[in-house]
Symmetry: C2
Subunit: 316 residues, 2 copies
């Protein structure tokens, strides 16, 4: 394809003039502007963005780090960011890590490579210490709260959220409640859940905590394991409505009734939860994604809390 030199030559002007009309500068005479524009149209010319990005040192593209690309929770955050991105004229690159530390660092390096202006981390594999150095090359914002001043956050107060749910369950008369989680103990969010649990119920019997739940099938397995326990739980708090759906499926295979035989509460107010009439805590993940995106492009390092809300339905 043609380049700016060619356009300049054909239009009989200098490249600077072409550049000026390209960038809508003023101080270009009307006739030259028209002439250049005509050649641009005739030649069907489009400037090479790589060259522009190289000079400007910015790309108007933001990286979006997610662990898994088949999980409703991360999808929702992505949707939020995507909404904002087209609105603000940015482009989003999806970066799936599968919680692989090297991969994650590789993605962060794209800031250094000048491929990305900023990155939002929905969930991370590396310790903050490994991540923070990259914040000098571009804005990095997290969907998890952190004290580190270098990192902007659009976060959920998971501790309060879990506390409220466990309290609610307790008030409903449940004493043996189990819960599922995504990652295990290495995850801050799991630790917060456990802390909240202990705050309400005093102690946590290890069997009542079921990790590595990402989808419906995992939920089914969780149900199988949890409901076979000697002193089985009378309520389960699932880390997602699809997971709750899996638990429900297993419970139904045992002809259990919800909530009489087993209370279930899910998360994120998904269609499956609506259909099955699950109570759910909506962490407003779309808003989290939107806010995180806004923070990156504003180069803001604020800590923004996104409120959650508990939706009461018939499953408790």
């Amino acid at each position: 394809m043609a380049n700016i030199n060619e356009i300049a030559k054909i239009a009989g002007v200098s490249v600077s003039t072409v550049s000026r009309v390209l960038n809508h500068h003023k101080y270009v005479s009307e006739d030259k502007r028209a002439a250049v524009q005509k050649v641009i149209n005739d030649m069907n010319y489009t400037p090479n963005r790589n060259a522009i990005d190289l000079i400007r040192g910015e790309t108007k593209t933001i990286g979006f780090i997610i662990p898994y690309n088949n999980n409703q929770a991360f999808d929702q955050m992505l949707h939020g960011a995507l909404n904002k991105s087209v609105e603000k004229g940015y482009t989003i690159t999806v970066l799936p890590t599968k919680y692989n530390k090297e991969k994650e660092i590789e993605y962060l390096s794209m800031l250094k490579n000048k491929l990305l202006d900023g990155i939002v981390i929905t969930s991370r594999a590396n310790p903050w210490e490994a991540i923070i150095p990259y914040s000098q090359y571009g804005e990095v914002v997290s969907c998890e709260y952190t004290e580190h001043p270098e990192i902007g956050c659009a976060y959920i107060d998971r501790y309060s959220s879990y506390l409220e749910v466990f309290q609610y369950l307790k008030e409903k008369g449940h004493t043996t409640v189990a819960f599922t989680a995504a990652r295990g103990m290495q995850s801050v969010s799991t630790q917060q859940t456990i802390a909240a649990y202990k705050e309400i119920f005093g102690e946590l019997r290890p069997e009542l905590y079921y990790p590595d739940c990402y989808n419906m099938e995992d939920g089914y397995l969780a149900g199988k394991k949890l409901l076979a326990l000697p002193a089985r739980p009378t309520a389960i708090y699932a880390n997602g409505d699809e997971i709750a759906g899996g638990i429900y499926q297993y419970a139904r295979s045992l002809h259990m009734n919800i909530p009489e035989d087993l209370a279930i509460i899910g998360q994120e107010n998904q269609p499956i939860g609506i259909a099955l009439d699950f109570s759910s805590v909506d962490h407003q993940l779309i808003k989290v994604g939107e806010q995180a995106f806004d923070l990156v492009i504003q180069k803001s390092r604020q800590k923004v809390n996104i409120p959650y809300r508990i939706i009461h339905r018939s499953s408790i």
Copy 2:
């Protein structure tokens, strides 16, 4: 951040030598290679990918055009592509159009801009005539079948799929069957559905076709409309399990039983369909996304059919 000149100067070599070690060329003496590498490490240097892309004329990034970013079907295709992309060392940029023609063209221009090596179009707003010119700037593959030789396809044979479902419904004794669709008549897929319907049932009463369905809520509305019809349908084929879920919800609010009072069949074998025990036709959208991605990076313009399968459950 430092650039290649600086590294060269400090290491006491020329930029070409630095470039050679960067690109793992042979014919670099071991001592110089070591010296350069040391400076690179010391300076924490990373080459600027923009400059490299500018020279090479390729970016190893693929654009993924989707109409909506909150629809399970498109999400699944995206997931397939994302899987392949990390495997093949590519990066994916998500491009949501909301079926806006200008936006879509803007995205296609990214090929011309040299921002993208290729694009996969899951669903399009523009006619092929408007899209094809862009295929000279990069590979464009579609998830919808087209004869145009410039466009590779990873497609579903929707006509056969619909034919089979309608035939099945007919055999089950249904004579009044309705169906929902995403876009209206402008969509090829809707036209195929209608053709298949007429093939099996002879004629289509216009009220039996409900367009603009994308999510559960739309399904609920569809149920409301369809079940209020004078000669109401005894079976509904929904264009997605979440939509089927919405229909189910409305039917249940009327105390209807499935399948006695109303047969429902969905699409894509989603969790919600599994939980509600819906029959569903699985178009294997993840595979569609994977295959489409493979075609782009192989610069192949093949037409690849992805087989579907009908999953029989209790809702029919």
